[in-house]
């Protein structure tokens, strides 16, 4: 019969085109009326059903009514015993299940098919039935059949039942849990797929019970499973156990994973190798066998195998480059691979592991095909090059040329931005590369269609250009932008020009002329900037130049916006004082970018916050009326733990420093589910001399598992010298016993209790905000030597200059300027330049001259507008 069907269809085909072309939803649904005819014409109905499924697959959307009508028409087809038609009906039921209503009417038909004798129906009927069941029907009528089906001798039936159970755990997890014995039985069958599915179901049921999973794994690793899929799954479960339990690499579990490297199926071998590579704790010894199987895969004839192997090796190279060097020869042969993804991965791996001598050769090879790969892979290449630059600074000229060639090629913004980023990093890291790097960037902005990139590069030119040997050469590039570009770029160019005027005395007259021309610009922002800079430059005052052109005040923008908004809401005679706005902390993006360069794509990076820590806290503090009166906090420290991490109550403390006040925010978490804490506050005792508790804001209710805050407000002592010290702390609260399930207290009885916390320290760093100075020397001179304090210290505990520099920065909480935080290797002396703002908006500058001689000797000079602050800073170091 079916043969006949095929032939007749072929006739149609020869006469016309594709029967499924230009189908209209309404026509097809009309045709579905044929389903109601008796007797059913299987050939015709199958074709109509196929058409319906086809238009659904093409993206037609049926309304609930249309779907329900079609569904009901379809139920008529159960009269026919044509196998294909019946199977298509199942498929139709599954497709319409999410849209149509009253699906339950086919339950009995499907149950009959599922338990009937026709094997071709049974498996498919189970799957269709499970797609229309809800938790109730499942429990009432078909649970019994499902249990039988799971242990059915027919592999298809058993698989279908297991897979459907897994789908149903979403809404009927409890029911499925009762089938654990059946699943256990199914795992012992011979069928490859049944074993795999049974393992999946068992693991899903037990995954919340660590002990049960451990037992399951222990049992299964001993028996030899036939199914490669099940083995892959088992390897994954085992790895998860190893990671969670943190057992070493000597355990039975790890031995099992390693033994899978010798399995006969490539799938299992690769899964095991991949798992070993991805484990956090593997060392070079454990990696060696995994790397050697991957090496074998590199020369496979299957592209997928090569791809998988290179991709995994690439990952190894990030953490253990030495382990991959053995594969370098194999990887080199893959550079010419027909699959460009394989080639790119091979090259980036080689770049990570290779020696300095091979860089030139590799770069040549990359350039031969870089135009053929997708942007995504180009970015991978760029990242690899960046890592390379940091590793081999001497190769910068080769790499820089390559990057500039890439810049000139076609590419999207993301790609171009990643190249520009890389060049900027190189310039910052390597002073020798600065001039060439800037030259390449200048050339790039001549022909750059991305405004944001052009603005960034101009900003960089303004910052770095004046400090090069020949600043004049950049002026032409910048001024060209003023003539040719759109308003934002012109404005950025004007700012960059002003930098040159402020820092290079010999260029000043020329810059003035150019700025004068910019005052005729059509855009008001450009005109404003030009006028502003012209006025300042015409004053010829170095201090003014430094303060208003070279340095950027780092006001926190969101807070500034809020303050200004508030100011406009309450009209007053006094002018707005910008000094009430706290300065923003230096964003950690600089460090983040460096870190990213090293571990290119291992970990998911948390989205870079647009607000700094202070700003997010400030936002929250403003909502508490008692604290809002204090204004915006000047500095907020990171949270410090005051308890061990495994105790009954977890308390963290954040120190918010205001101009005259200090606020401790205690973030408390109650980890006991049978207790409700009330009136939680922290009592500070002993208090250092001079500090006074101004207010206590308790947390009224602290239920189980929630983090809530209570606050203590203190006023700083008037004498700055004693504004640092250590506080004792005790958490006090009243406890009510409560029902763990509902969280409601059992009775109104409560008893008072207290809990000792660790001591709290307030240091200079807490009262200091990091602020960068672009031109430290100018600021230093401007501060004058009237308020300078100088002292010599012997830091005996420090062994290296690097260590000393890190400690001083951390201790004072100030921002290192002009890259003075990096100590050049092999030097025995170093000058560290730090700047910051002390609470009350006192600029503080520190110059620490360090010398290495049996420990580190430090000559510390502090300049600040307030002599008391200088004294505090000097004293605190000693």
């Amino acid at each position: 019969m079916i043969g006949f069907k095929r032939d007749s269809k072929k006739d149609e085909e020869d006469g016309g085109g594709n029967p499924f072309q230009n189908l209209e939803k309404t026509t097809v649904l009309q045709e579905a009326r044929t389903f109601n005819e008796t007797p059913v014409n299987p050939r015709k109905c199958t074709q109509i059903l196929t058409k319906i499924l086809y238009i659904l697959n093409q993206g037609e959307i049926l309304g609930t009514v249309e779907a329900t009508d079609t569904f009901f028409a379809m139920t008529k087809l159960f009269q026919s015993h044509d196998v294909i038609l019946r199977r298509m009906v199942y498929l139709g039921i599954k497709e319409l299940a999410p849209i149509a209503k009253d699906l339950f009417i086919v339950t009995s038909s499907l149950t009959t098919d599922m338990t009937g004798r026709e094997n071709l129906y049974r498996a498919a009927a189970i799957r269709a039935l499970c797609s229309i069941t809800d938790g109730n029907t499942l429990q009432q009528s078909i649970e019994r059949y499902m249990k039988q089906a799971i242990v059915d001798r027919n592999a298809a039936v058993s698989s279908a039942a297991l897979v459907s159970s897994l789908h149903m755990t979403r809404f009927a997890g409890e029911v499925v849990k009762r089938w654990v014995n059946e699943a256990q039985e199914a795992i012992n069958t011979d069928s490859i797929m049944v074993q795999y599915h049974a393992l999946g179901v068992l693991y899903h049921i037990r995954k919340t019970d660590r002990l049960a999973v451990t037992k399951l794994v222990a049992k299964l690793t001993k028996s030899t499973m036939k199914s490669p899929y099940a083995l892959c799954m088992l390897i994954r479960i085992t790895c998860r156990l190893i990671e969670e339990d943190d057992v070493g690499t000597n355990s039975k579990l790890f031995e099992f994973v390693q033994s899978c490297l010798r399995h006969k199926s490539e799938m299992v071998i690769y899964e095991a190798a991949h798992a070993i590579v991805n484990m956090k704790k593997t060392g070079a010894r454990e990696l060696a066998p995994a790397v050697s199987v991957l090496q074998l895969f590199c020369s496979s004839s299957k592209p997928t195998l090569r791809f998988a192997a290179v991709r995994t090796l690439n990952k190894v190279a990030m953490t253990h480059p030495a382990a991959v060097t053995a594969c370098n020869l194999d990887l080199e042969s893959l550079i010419t691979d027909a699959n460009r993804s394989v080639a790119t991965l091979a090259i980036t791996t080689l770049l990570k592991t290779g020696a300095e001598s091979s860089v030139d050769r590799l770069m040549k090879q990359i350039s031969s095909f870089v135009s053929e790969i997708s942007d995504e892979f180009k970015i991978v290449v760029v990242k690899a090059i960046r890592a390379l630059c940091l590793k081999f600074p001497r190769k910068h000229s080769v790499l820089m040329n390559f990057l500039s060639a890439m810049l000139r090629d076609e590419g999207g913004l993301e790609y171009k931005a990643s190249i520009a980023d890389t060049i900027i990093t190189i310039i910052e890291e390597n002073p020798e590369a600065k001039e060439t790097g800037l030259a390449h960037l200048c050339e790039f902005i001549e022909d750059c269609e991305h405004t944001s990139l052009a603005v960034r590069i101009l900003h960089l030119l303004g910052k770095e250009g004046p400090r090069t040997k020949q600043p004049s050469r950049y002026i032409r590039f910048i001024y060209n932008r003023v003539i040719l570009e759109n308003a934002p770029v012109r404005a950025a160019a004007v700012s960059a020009l002003a930098q040159f005027g402020a820092l290079c005395a010999d260029l000043l007259p020329n810059v003035k002329v150019l700025l004068a021309r910019c005052q005729m610009d059509t855009d008001d922002e450009v005109r404003d900037r030009a006028t502003y800079y012209s006025v300042i430059l015409n004053c010829n005052d170095a201090v003014l130049n430094n303060r208003f052109i070279v340095e950027n005040t780092h006001l926190s923008l969101p807070t500034l916006e809020k303050s200004l908004h508030q100011y406009t809401m309450q009209p007053s005679e006094t002018p707005f004082d910008a000094r009430t706005v706290p300065v923003a902390a230096i964003s950690p993006s600089e460090e983040a970018r460096l870190a990213a360069a090293e571990e290119i794509s291992t970990k998911p990076k948390t989205a870079i916050a647009t607000m700094t820590r202070e700003e997010t806290y400030a936002e929250k503090l403003r909502n508490i009326p008692q604290l809002a009166a204090l204004g915006s906090p000047f500095h907020s420290s990171p949270a410090v733990d005051l308890t061990e991490s495994e105790t009954e109550y977890l308390v963290k403390c954040v120190k918010h420093v205001y101009e005259r006040h200090l606020v401790f925010q205690f973030i408390c978490t109650n980890t006991l589910n049978d207790q409700l804490l009330e009136n939680v506050h922290v009592h500070l005792d002993p208090l250092p001399e001079g500090f006074v508790v101004a207010a206590n804001i308790p947390c009224q209710r602290l239920p189980y598992g929630e983090a809530q805050s209570c606050f203590t407000v203190l006023t700083f002592p008037d004498v700055l010298a004693i504004s640092v010290g250590s506080f004792g702390a005790v958490m006090k609260f009243s406890t009510k016993d409560c029902d763990p399930a509902t969280g409601l207290p059992d009775s109104d009885d409560s008893y008072d209790d207290e809990y000792m916390l660790e001591d709290l320290d307030v240091s200079v760093a807490d009262q200091m905000q990091k602020v960068a100075k672009a031109n430290f020397a100018a600021s230093w001179d401007e501060a004058g030597d009237e308020n300078e304090l100088e002292d010599v210290f012997a830091l005996t505990s420090m062994q290296t200059l690097d260590e000393a520099v890190k400690n001083i920065i951390q201790f004072l909480g100030m921002q290192p300027c002009e890259r003075s935080d990096r100590v050049q290797e092999g030097k025995s002396s170093h000058t560290l330049l730090l700047s910051g703002v002390f609470r009350g908006n006192h600029d503080v500058l520190v110059r620490a001259k360090l010398a290495l001689s049996e420990g580190v000797t430090m000559q510390l000079a502090v300049r600040c507008s307030d002599p008391e602050v200088s004294e505090l800073v000097t004293n605190s170091v000693g």
Partner: protein, 208 residues
Amino acid sequence: MQVCNSLRFHVKSSIIAPPCQLEETKTSTKMEEVMLEPTLYTIKGMAILDNDGNRILAKYYDKNVFPTVTEQKAFEKNLFNKTHRADAEIIMLDGLTCVYRSNVDLFFYVMGSSFENELILMSVLNCLYDSISQILRKNVEKRVIMENLDIVMLAMDEICDGGIILEADSGNVVQRVALRADDIPLGEQTVAQVLQTAKEQLKWSLLK
């Protein structure tokens, strides 16, 4: 006045010239997913496209991956453009690992997460291709696939159910999609299949 003026300028300049941050590409976040929880939900999607990149059949199994048909079709177009020229078998696109195979005017794709074992995906693709090749009696081309669309749909349903690999052996798949003995040339059947069909025919003749 001085204060106000300088203030205004600084605000504007910081907005227009952001401190160096343009990192974080869409792909990199997707590519850097954490190790996945062990699960049977392996397949994110399967597709059969014609040689213009139009969809013949496609199924996506993860609600978070291309939830709408528009997104799906855009992805398919992109995928086709990247794969129809190069005969490379595997590609990473939009955070998915896609393995593919083509014949005459048809392209077969299987998609999985970027952390999935590529060889498992490949085994599913091979199963898809081989089953269809047997169903179409080795005439793997668009015209024939359109004629047998019903059986091909059943086959895809037998290979993957809601993202779980249901069957990866093409012989089993073909047997389960109800192809009768007369549909497969005798030479390509296994002994078991022959016996099975013989049994069935006997049964049917008795039922009549």
